[in-house]
């Protein structure tokens, strides 16, 4: 955990009082809605279909139990008793009242949580691997660097009014859980031959109307230079990114129009001017940030304790353990993913009661720490293996032990037309129907790893382009129509999915997905061949033939 010091606390409090003044000026009419819009967006406040929506940052997906309780408190006191975890390590509250927002922010500030730059055309919440610091084989904890970048990008005087939003993600593992290739800047933490820490820097990834997979702009930038290098990219983007058309304003379009070679030359030239400046980071600064991350005092525990062996007799426990429990860098411990995808419910939602109870479980079993992943699930990062049976029982009581992590019902979906003013089609009801179709755990297990991602409009908040099966809702002649792609993925081998055929109506989506899955089960060479591998081997055609043969 990163512990705020007096300096961080002061800044967050100053931000809250500034926003309080801005809300007051809006309510008195001193600020027009047009002027206020940008200010509220900088604080994570959107105007949605029914109410204001409030998006709170969970930097690099790390939460302390008291912070999760504060989120539960906001859900209960200022909203309707629940929150929605997003694909970018944020939580959203959908029914907030404008006049109460400054109080909600002040309550969150008490535990070191803020909503700065969770929307608007600025540098958004820095995201990372939800298993950071505990994943086996990780190069080093990417959160140290995430925090450094979080600070540097917070209220940046030059880059708070960019052409468009700007997202940075960091990973330090071979397996990319942070989806860095679909970010404006993706950072892959690596070591050079001398053993020094640095980053492969990728740029220009993003989904939305014109999706791109990020390209490598530099193979190694030394850790001490990472802020100046990011600053150089942003300075080029701030000056030359398009501002004439909102759909062409992301950095991916600039990179695409200039070409990565020309873009990287521009960045390089800018960087040479600023790399030997006060942006250079001393080891001492890094050590200072590192020193404010606390790590649990792990005990030396058996990796296969009696408790675990005894519980193995219970098939429900075993199903959950095999699905939701992952290896930890310390063999006596595990990382436990908590599915927020119960059958028939909106993906990523948690009630205030669940959040409070999870905070208690984190205190009891996970050194008070909770993680949030881009798949809209939570995790307890340090659970002793002997505690797994006890934890499972407690989670099950809370409705939080659905053993469907990474399976077909572990769906990523945006809020869609049920909440969002941009949406053209519903997302949540599609997800709910799909979870009912594949509710049988044996069936879901037989299918194996398969990610379905659903967006209710072209803005792609549900990451449909990179779903193994992607579903995009659009509006056609006043009707919701869904375009379906297969073969996308968001990890280290990120790829965009390919359209499988003509769009289908709302009622047909689940049938089509069932047909795709049936085709896969028939086409796979052996049970271990995952859906995405079958699609890679065979392409779209055989799926298309089978799915559309009877349509």
């Amino acid at each position: 955990m990163y512990a705020y010091d007096e300096i961080d606390r002061t800044l967050v409090n100053e931000r809250v009082s500034e926003f309080r003044d801005q809300v007051k000026r809006r309510l008195s009419g001193e600020l027009t809605e047009d002027e206020f819009k940008i200010l509220r967006l900088q604080n994570g406040v959107y105007l949605q279909l029914h109410a204001y929506m409030f998006r709170v940052a969970i930097p690099y997906g790390t939460l302390a139990s008291n912070q999760l309780r504060a989120l539960a408190h906001v859900a209960r006191k200022y909203d309707r008793g629940y929150g929605h975890f997003t694909t970018r390590q944020n939580i959203q509250f959908n029914w907030i009242k404008l006049a109460e927002l400054p109080d909600a922010l002040a309550d969150l500030a008490e535990v070191g949580i803020h909503a700065m730059q969770t929307s608007g055309n600025n540098m958004r919440n820095v995201t990372s691997d939800q298993w950071a610091g505990v994943a086996p084989g990780e190069i080093e904890d990417p959160r140290i660097w995430s925090e450094l970048i979080r600070q540097h990008t917070t209220l940046h005087p030059e880059f708070s009014f960019l052409p468009r939003k700007f997202k940075i993600a960091i990973t330090a593992s071979d397996h990319d859980r942070a989806a860095i290739k679909i970010h404006d800047i993706g950072l892959r933490l690596i070591k050079n031959e001398k053993g020094e820490t640095g980053f492969e820097v990728l740029v220009g990834g993003g989904l939305g109307r014109t999706p791109f997979i990020a390209k490598t702009i530099k193979h190694f930038v030394h850790g001490r230079d990472i802020l100046s290098y990011i600053e150089a990219i942003l300075r080029v983007y701030n000056q030359y990114g398009r501002r004439d058309n909102i759909y062409k304003a992301r950095i991916k379009i600039l990179v695409h129009e200039l070409g990565i070679e020309k873009f990287s030359r521009e960045v390089e030239e800018e960087w040479q001017h600023i790399r030997n400046s006060s942006l250079q980071i001393d080891d001492e600064v890094i050590e200072d940030i590192r020193s404010r991350f606390t790590y649990p005092a792990y005990e030396k525990l058996p990796h296969n304790p009696d408790e675990l062996r005894q519980a193995a007799a219970d098939p429900d426990f075993e199903a959950w353990r095999k699905n939701s429990v992952a290896p930890h860098k310390n063999p006596g411990y595990s990382i436990v993913t908590i599915s927020l995808k119960p059958i028939g419910a909106p993906p990523g939602d948690a009630t205030a009661e669940q959040m409070d109870a999870l905070a208690d479980l984190a205190d009891k079993y996970s050194f008070g720490e909770i993680r949030v992943g881009h798949e809209q699930n939570l995790a307890l990062p340090h659970v002793a293996k002997r505690d797994l049976p006890g934890l499972w029982k407690a989670l099950d009581k809370l409705g939080l032990a659905t053993p469907n992590v990474n399976l077909i019902t572990d769906i990523i979906a945006c809020p869609g037309l049920d909440y969002c003013s941009l949406a053209n089609a519903r997302s949540i009801p599609i997800a709910q129907e799909l979870t009912r179709r594949f509710a049988n755990h044996e069936l879901a297990n037989l299918i194996g790893r398969l990610h379905i991602n659903i967006s209710g409009c072209i803005n792609a908040c549900g990451h449909h382009h990179v779903g193994h099966i992607g579903i995009l809702g659009v509006e056609k002649n006043g009707e919701e129509v869904y375009q379906i792609t297969i073969g996308g993925r968001a990890d280290e081998s990120a790829a965009l999915g390919n359209l499988i055929g003509p769009g289908v109506k709302f009622d047909e989506v689940a049938d089509v997905v069932e047909d795709i899955v049936e085709a896969y089960l028939a086409l796979r060479e052996r049970p271990e061949e995952l859906f995405m591998d079958t699609v890679k081997r065979l392409g779209v055609e055989p799926f298309k033939e089978r799915v559309y043969a009877t349509r």
């Binding site: 300096i7 800044l11 100053e14 500034e18 001193e30 209220l155 005087p157 701030n238 000056q239 600064v285």
Partner: protein, 171 residues
């Protein structure tokens, strides 16, 4: 539109000239970039100070040869969501060492003051009277800054280092 200069509302001695307004014989003038470049010799010879209004989509490096001779560079915020002039301002101050008046014009509201001060602006054509009057109070809204810029304010990272070292003394 009130001008804030040196932290308070001040008179503006500069007259803004359009591309084709006849040049007055004396007095301080602010002229558009293209006219400035075109008539630079005439402009610099006359009595009175000269400033230039530089658009946010034109390379600020073009202005470098003249920086020692001009009194004001006015950068433009066509809307307050268009932040290109922040980069121009920092380049002028931090790369080209411009020390004259750096003026923010266009849609300038109190909510940008801190960002603008940090980027190097020191005068502001403020859209609303109430915002101009609130300048000093608003400029002090923040006491913590995470990024180093040319304004010399100490950053959070360095303040921490100082605290560390001062705590280290005597232990």
């Amino acid at each position: 539109m009130p001008l804030v200069n040196g932290g308070k509302i001040a008179d503006d001695s500069f007259v803004k000239l359009a591309v084709d307004t006849p040049l007055p014989e004396s007095g301080d003038v602010l002229v558009p970039a293209e006219r400035f470049i075109g008539e630079v010799d005439t402009l610099l010879k006359r009595a009175g100070k000269v400033g230039v209004i530089w658009p946010n989509n034109r390379d600020i490096a073009e202005l470098v040869p003249y920086l020692g001779k001009i009194a004001v560079v006015a950068l433009v915020f066509p809307t307050f969501r268009d932040g290109r002039a922040y980069s121009q301002a920092r380049l002028l101050r931090e790369r080209y060492n411009y020390r004259g008046e750096l003026r923010a014009t266009g849609q300038v509201l109190r909510d940008q003051f801190v960002f603008m001060l940090r980027a190097g602006f020191d005068s502001f054509e403020v859209k609303k009277q109430a915002d101009a009057e609130a300048f000093m109070q608003t400029a002090k809204r923040y006491s913590v800054f995470y990024q180093p810029t040319g304004d010399g304010r100490i950053t959070a990272l360095h303040r921490r280092m100082q605290l560390r070292h001062s705590e280290g003394v005597g232990t």
